[in-house]
């Protein structure tokens, strides 16, 4: 029968809007306003999952985010979401979900055999059995994960978009129940800017399930509606339903996730699926409510056994009968409300089993008056039923509550509503660093000392009655607004009137005794999601674990996606009981974000694909694209890698580009080199202090190569700096290092040398830099400039001139990274493309050839020029590179003292060498390790590694640079490079300069 368990009237569902949905391949109907869980229950579906370890049949336990069992795989690839809580999932037309964790189906599950061999699967089983040998762990892990299954990640990329947004407010209120709403009212009335986040789709909190509650003599939901109208009219108030505050970080920074479109049948393409709110709040009010705790009794996990409060929610909010014949099992007065609601809805109540010696409290009295069968000082000691609870055994409890007296008596039922008391939702408070304190009376941890500007109100603060919630909410809202600097006098109206109906008194039996001790016969589940039983905790304690954090990790209790929301206090209580220590001494485990699981999508937001990271393009980028260049990422820059012509291979293209530079003329876009403009009377002094060589004597118009070290003596950057004027220099840095070098210089200037008068300006993007290199470079440049003298005498190697090139104001630097006569022409970036195109046109007669980073690397490697970050890795000194010539012995500089450390003088330091493979056609992979002699298998003592490796067209063979222990003394000796696949390359150590060692070409 469709929706056979739906009540004819009542509830907050819209019976005029039926919705079709599918679960495990079968079609069902629910109503707008349902969750998947309530719609399933309306159709009599209780068995929704199999448990993690034993594959036991599991049902819906809760009606909210605390749900341990009813996790479903939602939707189909690519829009598939694992671990979705059916209890929070709003029903939409066409929704399709499946049970996860079972194969082939939830009704018949192969893994359920695990249940029959459960003795073999105690706590720590995986650790103990599969931890050795380590090499097999990957395999075990795969099988275990597959069998255990925690849903399935979608196989395709997520087609939805996700957004992130920032918000600032005076008062952020988490929780839209009565306390949160009252806080919002009070704060908003002072004029404070208020954000109110509620994880549910509707505001009202527990009031949504309690039609009997009244405020000011009217139904409580009327007050909620009026409150929302008042808040809605206030432009300073933002109410965010379907928004979970999942993390509370430092300085009142909270992360919220808003589910924007999941609940919409038609999803507008313009809207993101979810939105991440990053909120910085002056004050925070936590009105997060409380979560009902389970009772730990024998086989307390069968479908049909749920929390009493959840039962009330299904009855009252969703108009669903969660069963036909119920047993209510409680340690407190509050659950009698559930019994009364059941009776009112026409569900027969077979028994109210109360662990307390006498049914005390206002609701107990009402239930007695209503004639409900109450069994005081009784316990459920066993349950039966394969896929749904069918019977429970009830027995009288001994006076200490630690054993039962007499035999169990069977009671037929298809629903058991349990209540083990309520535990405040202190997760965010605890995440914020706030201290918790144990409250003996309420049997829970309460917020104690806040660590930040945090206020707590309502059930989260231990106020379980409505009147107290309203009162605390108003007070917290007002206090928070006042702390944020708002005038509160007269802002409040008369406080709304309501009745306090808490759940106390209670009797705290954390472990309900059964006929046999825990671990024999039935299973007392403490954590249903991770299948952790009392016996597991006892085992952990027997094996010597004492700290609750260790017990948690060893057993896995509280470590599921629900973080043990309905069972952690029980786990702590059981540990305390077993150890014979007071519960607060055992302490509480750490609460960590996220409060409930958050999609990866919302963390990624729009920062995917092109927006993952900024892409920097030079002024000439479009030309490179048109020329068919392939690009290489260098830092955030996109640099042309090589320019294949007519189907050329990379190898051919690079060889052609390299040869062009050596034989005629190459052209390179070097705009990405970092450029720092340095001005001031102490500019030269700054250079003296940060570079290893001396700068005082550099004349205006000349350039000098510099090596920059960290204070640890390791090479951090290199580049050429030109003296442009009396107190004016232009420093170039490695492309990827420009920001780091500027930061380095600024740090020293500001923190150690404030007396130096120097200004630093990053001008990397202000200039386009075009480098032309080769025997025809001077000829071409000469054709395009009238006012710059280019003769070797007028503009020698390592000098600089200013003038017009192709009519464009330019700085021309005669510097070379190729070993050829080369000019770097800097023009304002907006002229970059014009300059490039002019050079290309004018250079046609020289066969001018654009070359990319790969050819540049080959050219520089032929010359033995290092690249910082390739030949260096943060552990390489100038001496290791054989660059003693650039290290001043006279002056101090950053890093100098470190070069004198004893470690630096060791003869087995890795030193830069050239490497020539015996087979001239073999190109070693960069990063290859070098050994004296390759052994059959690792380990082999490693003596160095390859840092750069190329095929050199000019030498007609492969060349490589490497760092080798004591390498400078080993020229001519052989080393070996064992390569993947078993092949070993034999190579000879050589000097690092392979081409034109005298440098005649570049000076010519």
């Amino acid at each position: 029968m469709p929706q056979g368990f739906r009540l004819a009237e009542g509830g907050l569902i819209d019976r005029a809007r039926p919705l079709g949905f599918r679960f495990n391949g079968r079609s069902y109907q629910g109503y707008a306003g349902d969750t998947l869980a309530s719609a399933l229950l309306a159709n009599g579906v209780h068995l929704v999952a199999r448990s993690y370890k034993y594959h036991r049949p599991r049902g819906i336990v809760s009606a909210g985010p605390e749900e341990p069992n009813a996790l479903v795989q939602l939707g189909r690839d690519p829009r598939s979401d694992p671990n979705t809580r059916a209890t929070q999932l709003e029903l939409v037309e066409g929704l399709a979900a499946r049970s996860q964790n079972c194969w082939p189906g939830v009704g018949f599950d192969v893994g359920a055999l695990n249940g029959l061999v459960s003795r073999l699967l105690p706590a720590g089983f995986y650790y103990k059995t599969f931890k050795w040998p380590a090499s097999l762990w990957m395999k075990y892990e795969y099988v275990i994960r597959h069998a255990a299954g925690l849903g399935r990640a979608p196989g395709e990329r997520d087609p939805d978009i996700y957004d992130k947004t920032n918000a600032h407010c005076d008062v952020l209120i988490v929780g839209g129940g009565p306390a949160g709403l009252a806080a919002a009212l009070a704060a908003a009335r002072t004029g404070a800017r208020v954000v109110l986040a509620e994880q549910d789709c509707q505001l009202g909190g527990a009031l949504l399930d309690r039609p009997d509650e009244t405020i000011d003599g009217k139904p409580a939901l009327d007050w909620v509606a009026e409150t929302l109208i008042e808040l809605g009219r206030n432009p300073e108030v933002r109410i965010l339903p379907r928004t979970t505050a999942f993390a509370y970080y430092d300085h009142n920074y909270l992360a919220l996730v808003e589910r924007v479109t999941d609940h919409l049948g038609e999803k507008p393409e313009t809207l993101p699926r979810e939105r991440l709110w990053k909120v910085r709040a002056h004050q925070v009010v936590l009105a997060t409510g409380a979560i009902e705790q389970q009772l730990v009794f024998s086989d307390n996990d069968r479908p049909g056994i749920m929390l009493a409060g959840a039962g009330r929610t299904y009855l009252n909010r969703y108009a669903v009968k969660p069963g036909s014949r119920a047993v209510v099992f409680t340690n407190n007065d509050g659950a009698y409300g559930a019994a009364l609601d059941l009776q009112k809805a026409g569900v027969s109540v077979a028994a109210v089993v109360d662990l307390r010696t006498a049914p005390e409290g206002p609701l107990s009295e009402q239930a007695e008056a209503a004639g409900l069968p109450i069994l005081a000082e009784h316990a459920i000691v066993a349950t039966r039923g394969a896929k749904r609870v069918g019977q429970v055994a009830v027995a009288p409890l001994g006076p200490e509550g630690d054993r039962i007296t007499g035999d169990g008596e069977g009671v037929e039922c298809d629903l058991v509503l349990c209540s083990g008391g309520w535990s405040p939702t202190v997760h965010l408070f605890s995440q914020s660093g706030g201290r918790l304190a144990w409250d003996e009376l309420r049997g829970c941890f309460l917020p104690d000392t806040p660590a930040q500007a945090t206020h707590v109100a309502g059930a989260c603060n231990g106020a379980f009655g409505l009147a107290a919630c309203l009162e605390q909410g108003l007070a917290a809202g007002e206090t928070a607004a006042a702390a944020a600097g708002f005038e509160t006098k007269g802002a409040g109206k008369a406080p709304p009137q309501a009745t306090d109906r808490g759940f106390l008194p209670a009797r705290w039996l954390r472990l309900v005794p059964s006929i046999e001790p825990a671990g024999r016969g039935g299973k007392h589940f403490v954590d249903q999601q991770n299948d952790v039983t009392v016996a597991d905790i006892q085992l952990a304690l027997r094996e010597g674990y004492r700290s609750i954090e260790h017990v948690k990790r060893y057993t896995g209790t509280g470590m599921g996606t629900d973080q043990g929301k309905t069972g952690n206090v029980n786990a702590i209580g059981i540990v305390a009981r077993e150890l014979g220590r007071p519960l607060p001494e055992v302490g509480v485990t750490t609460f960590r974000p996220p409060y409930t699981p958050v999609t990866f999508g919302v963390f990624a937001g729009r920062d995917v694909d092109d927006l993952l990271d900024p892409v920097r393009k030079t002024a000439i980028h479009a030309w490179h694209e048109r020329a068919g260049a392939l690009f290489e990422d260098v830092g955030q820059w996109r640099r042309p890698w090589y320019y294949p012509q007519g189907g050329e291979s990379m190898h051919r293209a690079v060889a052609r580009e390299v040869e062009a530079c050596r034989s005629s003329l190459g052209i390179l876009d070097a705009s990405t080199l970092g450029k720092i403009d340095i001005k001031g009377q102490d500019a030269a002094e700054l250079l003296n202090r940060v570079y290893t060589n001396a700068w005082s004597k550099l004349e205006t118009g000349r350039c000098r190569y510099g090596l920059m070290l960290g204070e640890d003596g390791m090479v951090m950057d290199d580049g050429v700096t030109a003296r442009l004027g009396e107190h004016h220099y232009l420093m170039t840095t490695t492309t990827g290092n420009a920001a780091a070098v500027l930061g380095h210089l600024e740090e020293w200037l500001q923190t150690e040398w404030p007396e130096l008068q120097v200004h630093l300006t990053s001008v990397t993007e202000q200039f386009a830099t075009v480098s032309i290199a080769g025997p025809n470079a001077r000829r071409l440049l000469g054709e395009l400039t009238n006012d710059i003298k280019l003769t070797p005498k007028a503009l020698p190697h390592m000098s600089f001139a200013e003038g017009a090139v192709a009519g464009i104001p330019a700085r021309v630097f005669r510097i070379s990274f190729t070993g050829e006569c080369a000019y770097e022409i800097n023009v304002p970036a907006s002229y970059g493309m014009a300059l490039w195109q002019t050079l290309i046109r004018a250079g046609e007669k020289y066969d001018i050839t654009p070359y990319g980073t790969e050819a540049m690397h080959v050219l520089r490697a032929e010359k033995g020029y290092i690249i910082v970050g390739q030949e260096t890795d943060g552990s390489v000194t100038p001496f290791d590179l054989g660059m003693d010539w650039i290290v001043s012995k006279k002056k101090d500089f950053v890093g100098k003292r470190s070069l004198a450390r004893s470690d630096m003088a060791k003869s087995d330091r890795k030193q830069l060498v050239g490497l020539l493979t015996d087979n001239p056609q073999e190109v070693l992979p960069e990063g290859a390790q070098l050994v004296e002699k390759a052994l059959d298998k690792p380990p082999m003592p490693m003596i160095g590694h390859v840092t750069s490796s190329y095929m050199s067209p000019n030498l007609g063979r492969s060349i490589a640079l490497a760092l080798v222990k004591g390498g400078r003394e080993r020229h001519g000796q052989k080393v070996q490079a064992p390569l993947p696949g078993g092949h070993t390359a034999v190579c000879e150590i050589a000097g690092p300069v392979f081409f034109d060692p005298e440098g005649e070409r570049l000076r010519g």
């Binding site: 600024e746 923190t751 150690e752 101090d892």
Partner: protein, 97 residues
Amino acid sequence: MLLIPCPYCGPREETEFSYGGEAHIERPKQPEALGDEAWADYLFMTGNTKGVFLERWVHSHGCRRWFNAARDTLTNEVLAVYEMGGKPPKLEKRSYV
């Protein structure tokens, strides 16, 4: 994420800043005069205080200026900020066991 009061710009998100380690570690005037151990002490050794710690920050994605801050490393409260070269403010000692 911290909210750091840059002395020059006002309170800004931590992501705009870079951390510079312990404050008031002065570079030795004559590094050459130091033995390896003393040099290593300057170079590598910093405090690991539980409580009020004087440290350096730079507003990298803002004014790019360096400054000192006094931060409680346990609660992350930023108790004071002051300029480079400035004297640390007098703060109540916080001791944690």
